[in-house]
């Protein structure tokens, strides 16, 4: 059975059957938690957001109608809203960078010696500093391997707008990643 079709059937069952909803939870928990964490960078907050996402999904699943996009797109949408709600509740906590603002200082530290892993971490730290929409698009594309069309659906934008966000994000990383990220070197 094609995966998408099987997912659609599972979602339909989950409208009536708690076990099917449990199966959806088991399937999507890792990516939703990961996505939530990528947005809030705090374990406790990520737990809160993830919890809220699945409870909202449970509450509203009967109203969910298949639109040709994966079920996960709907969950990502709820996640984005939950994160936004959180920051609205804690006004001022999220500092949105303006389009021209600089990424944080990348002065070399001892961790520079540490590792490819650390390099990866810092690239993703740089993504964390991108403006909100760019960041969401970059995380969904490079962290979650979503299609541009899905990202557009999740963010409520056109595919063209998502491409622009990705383009700007990549261009900004190219300009502002520190010199030790000699691009093209392992």
């Amino acid at each position: 059975m094609p995966e998408r079709f099987e997912e659609r059937e599972l979602v339909e069952r989950a409208k009536l059957d708690p076990d099917a909803f449990g199966a959806l939870y088991d399937r999507y928990f890792p990516q939703i938690y990961r996505f939530a964490y990528s947005r809030v960078r705090d374990q406790s907050l990520a737990e809160d957001v993830t919890s809220e996402v699945f409870f909202k999904a449970l509450k509203n699943i009967k109203r969910y109608t298949y639109s040709g996009h994966p079920f996960s797109s709907w969950l990502y949408q709820i996640t984005l809203n939950a994160v936004a709600d959180h920051y609205r509740g804690a006004a001022g906590k999220e500092v949105e960078l303006e389009e021209g603002a600089s990424l944080p200082s990348t002065e070399p530290t001892v961790v520079d010696e540490v590792v490819r892993r650390d390099r990866s971490r810092r690239v993703w730290s740089a993504i964390d500093q991108l403006p909100k929409q760019q960041r969401a698009a970059m995380v969904l594309k490079f962290g979650e391997d979503r299609k541009i069309e899905e990202i557009a659906q999740i963010l409520g934008k056109s595919s063209g707008a998502v491409k622009l966000l990705l383009h700007r994000g990549v261009e900004r990383l190219r300009r502002e990643l520190p010199p030790e990220f000699e691009l093209g070197t392992p």
Binding site: L16, D17, G22, V123, K141, L166
Partner: protein
């Protein structure tokens, strides 16, 4: 990773390089508490069962009923057999397929299923056992057995606590092979609809916070003895094993326990021997057995049973070996060039950090690991007890590496001398021109807790096993090592006191039980000899330990049903109290006392001659813990023994309904006290207030108190200022868990302030 969308979107080579970098690097796996995932699932499933179409509205027999199929099920009901779920399986040796019923009434929707018990599902008739297929969610490996007509599912590991499981029983899709010798072998009917059972396991038992039998604060230097004899048993290095024995490095060829030592052994401090052996040794200095011939720099695994050791190999190489304490080689973890000059560091039970040519390496015993390339040379290296963090003094600075992986935390410049406590605090020193600063890193926050006076140099930090104090060596300004002393300091930097006499002592190491301290001391030949000193607890701590030992003897006898031993722990008043019905000495018929733990221990006099010990006793029925009650035992010192003098018992409470208090601790916190109340569940923080947790005086009047709550640790702290006397702690049912479930029952406990 191929992604045509990205290839089309980014055609500029400069952009493509960034995209390649992003494709090659994934975001770090976020930290995840596995309990959170399970807990959220349980909550969701509970909510889903309430809000989605109830299962009861669906037919348990979704396949077409025919009178032939329905009849056996109805007959089973009529016979008093509770048919909860139906499943069609093939009756053995029956001419036609029939329906058999399962009795899951003892399991379905139960919320206190034991985690270590098999799952039993009786069937109403004989079944083709090979046709029954079982699945458990969350995924659980198990063995499927049959005892008569009962299906017994034995999980390979204990089930997770407080987790909702779903057991699905269905007939296999495959058709049973017809039996050629029996033409009446049943024809398969299509009945794959699974039957489903839900149950929730009991909550995890939270380890009680019992005042430790060993408390490092207040210990004094007891008696000391030299480890081995300088003339006969020569020791070059020594470390504790978790079991309280020693792994010692001795010059090669030294005698063992069965032969007389030779007098020609080199005196300690006279320089390293050409080769060395590693021995297991008792704390009295008796060599037990050689465990690594030719070995050096042993390091005991924190999990016990194993140790690592360096052994010279062919050529200019050394092997890092892992051996058991019998001396059997388990594996060779690494090989380096040259001669190592320090032991490897265990990171948890299965990883080792070591220095190879000045560079840090980490090796996994079961799998290769990604190694951060840090230049360490002779810098300090220490792993946290949970095996997650590694403190490293590298040439570029000191850092705490999170091996999960997460962010690396940089420490202050010059941080060295790392020592991790059993509770995960990292102590380190920074040497200044005019002395030493002592720091503690707790939960990511660093604080300076003390500084040496008069230019003293502090080094050789070692946490006490209870993580409340540190031992270290203090050397006066100018480096006059002849007057170096050991110092004991509280975790918060308070009360630095000299431990032992004014001699040159250094490199202190607490034994795992805290009863001994191993250290080095300058010997007559100018070298360092290893010594062991006893640590003498304070009079109150020693008395408390003795009282708790009597309580344990008493409780274990009651659990065993050993009347003689239990009675022997009671004085006349205590015996009369039990006989008078103040509490039950043994469990009622049909039940069993399963286990107990102390909830509180309080000194109730100015002298350590009377203690009030609160114990929680769990009652098992039909193999499952179902309830508990508490007793407040008064113990009085009589003829050198503590005997139970009186008892008060609480009501019996059912397990698994709302949060419960698991321990109460009273700490002196001048100018007042702290009462620490620990719970066994996640609580709604706003339900933990001075209204729901109260302290009352002898007249029942509320005492002013401030209540704070640490949700992660399930710990409420009540700050009060109490005078000498007896008070009452009251935890009301206003305290609720995160689902709004109130405390099972109001909790009352006496608080005795004796000083």
């Amino acid at each position: 990773m191929e992604d045509k969308e990205l290839d089309e979107l980014f055609t500029d080579p400069a952009h493509q390089e960034v995209v390649d970098l992003l494709k090659a690097s994934r975001p770090a796996t976020p930290p995840l508490d596995p309990n959170f995932r399970l807990h959220l699932r349980a909550q969701l499933m509970a909510e889903a069962r309430k809000t989605l179409t109830p299962r009861a509205a669906r037919s348990w027999f979704p396949f077409t009923f025919t009178p032939r199929l329905l009849a056996p099920a109805m007959a089973a009901v009529a016979a008093g057999f509770i048919v909860v779920l139906g499943i069609e399986v093939y009756l053995a040796n029956q001419p036609t397929s029939s329906l058999v019923a399962m009795d899951v009434s003892k399991l379905n929707n139960k919320t206190n299923v034991a985690t270590g018990e098999p799952i039993e599902i009786p069937f109403s008739g004989p079944v083709d056992q090979a046709a029954v297929e079982v699945q458990i969610e969350p995924a659980t490996s198990f063995t499927q057995q049959w005892v008569g007509q009962k299906l017994v599912i034995v999980p390979d590991h204990p089930l997770a606590p407080n987790t909702t499981y779903t057991v699905t029983v269905k007939s296999k899709a495959t058709v049973p092979t017809p039996n050629a010798s029996n033409p009446n072998t049943p024809k398969p009917a299509v009945a794959p609809t699974p039957a489903v059972v839900h149950f929730t396991t009991v909550r995890a038992s939270v380890p009680p916070v019992v005042p430790p039998s060993f408390r490092s604060a207040g210990v004094t230097y007891g008696f000391d003895s030299r480890l081995g004899d300088s003339a006969r048993v020569n020791i070059l290095g020594a470390v504790w094993t978790p079991a309280g024995q020693l792994l010692v490095t001795r010059p090669g060829g030294q005698p063992g326990p069965s032969s007389l030592p030779t007098a020609s052994a080199t005196a300690s401090g006279s320089g390293p021997a050409a080769s060395t052996d590693v021995w297991l040794m008792s704390t009295m200095g008796t060599p037990i057995r050689m465990v690594a011939p030719g070995g050096n720099f042993p390091a005991a695994a924190p999990s016990g049973g194993l140790f690592s050791v360096w052994r010279q190999a062919d050529g200019n190489h050394a092997n890092l070996e892992v051996r058991d304490l019998q001396g059997n080689l388990i594996s060779t973890a690494a090989t380096v060039e040259g001669v190592p000059d320090r032991p490897a560091v265990w990171i948890g039970a299965d990883r080792l950090a070591y220095v190879d040519g000045g560079t840090l390496r980490i090796v996994g015993l079961h799998a290769p690991l990604e190694t951060p390339a840090l230049k360490v040379d002779h810098g300090s290296l220490a792993a946290s007890p949970n095996g997650q963090l590694l403190a490293v003094q590298s040439t570029g600075g000191s850092v705490v590496l999170d091996l999960t992986p997460a962010a690396t935390q940089r420490l202050h410049d010059g941080a060295t001398g790392f020592s991790w406590s059993a509770k995960g605090d990292l102590a380190f020193t920074i040497q200044r021109e005019n002395g030493t600063d002592l720091y503690v890193l707790t939960e990511g926050k660093t604080s300076k807790i003390a500084s040496s006076a008069n230019g003293q140099t502090w080094s050789d930090l070692n946490w006490a096993p209870d993580a409340t104090s540190l031992l270290f060596a203090a050397r006066p300004a100018g480096g006059n090592s002849m007057s170096s002393v050991l110092m004991l300091i509280n975790r918060d930097g308070s009360n630095p006191t000299q431990f032992g006499p004014q001699r040159e002592y250094s490199a202190p190491q607490w034994s795992p039980a805290g009863d001994l301290v191993l250290f080095t001391r300058r010997d007559e030949a100018g070298g360092n000899a290893f010594w062991v000193a006893t640590s003498a607890p304070s009079a109150n701590d020693a008395a408390e330990k003795q009282a708790l030992a009597e309580v344990d003897k008493f409780m274990q006898a009651r659990i065993r049903g050993d009347s003689g031993t239990a009675q022997d722990e009671l004085d006349d008043a205590g015996r009369a109290a039990y006989q008078g019905g103040a509490s039950a000495l043994f469990s009622p018929a049909g039940t069993q006392f399963d286990r107990y733990y102390p909830v509180t221990v309080q000194l109730t006099g100015s002298n350590p001659n009377k203690f009030l010990v609160g114990v929680r006793i769990f009652i098992k029925k039909s193999g499952v813990e179902t309830s508990f009650f508490e007793e407040q035992l008064s113990l009085v010192l009589q003829d050198q023994r503590y005997l139970v003098d009186s008892v008060k018992a609480s009501e019996t409470m059912a397990l698994g309904h709302g949060p419960t208090v698991v321990s109460v601790q009273i700490l002196q916190a001048p100018p007042g006290q702290q009462v620490r109340v620990r719970f066994d569940a996640d609580l709604k923080p706003d339900s933990v207030t001075s209204t729901t947790i109260q302290v009352k005086d002898a007249n029942g009047q509320l005492v002013a108190a401030r209540v704070s709550f640490d949700a992660d640790k399930h710990l409420a702290t009540v700050t009060v200022r109490l005078q000498k006397g007896t008070y009452q702690l009251v935890v009301t049912t206003g305290v609720t868990d995160i689902n709004g479930m109130p405390l099972a029952q109001e909790y009352d406990a006496p608080l005795v302030i004796s000083r």
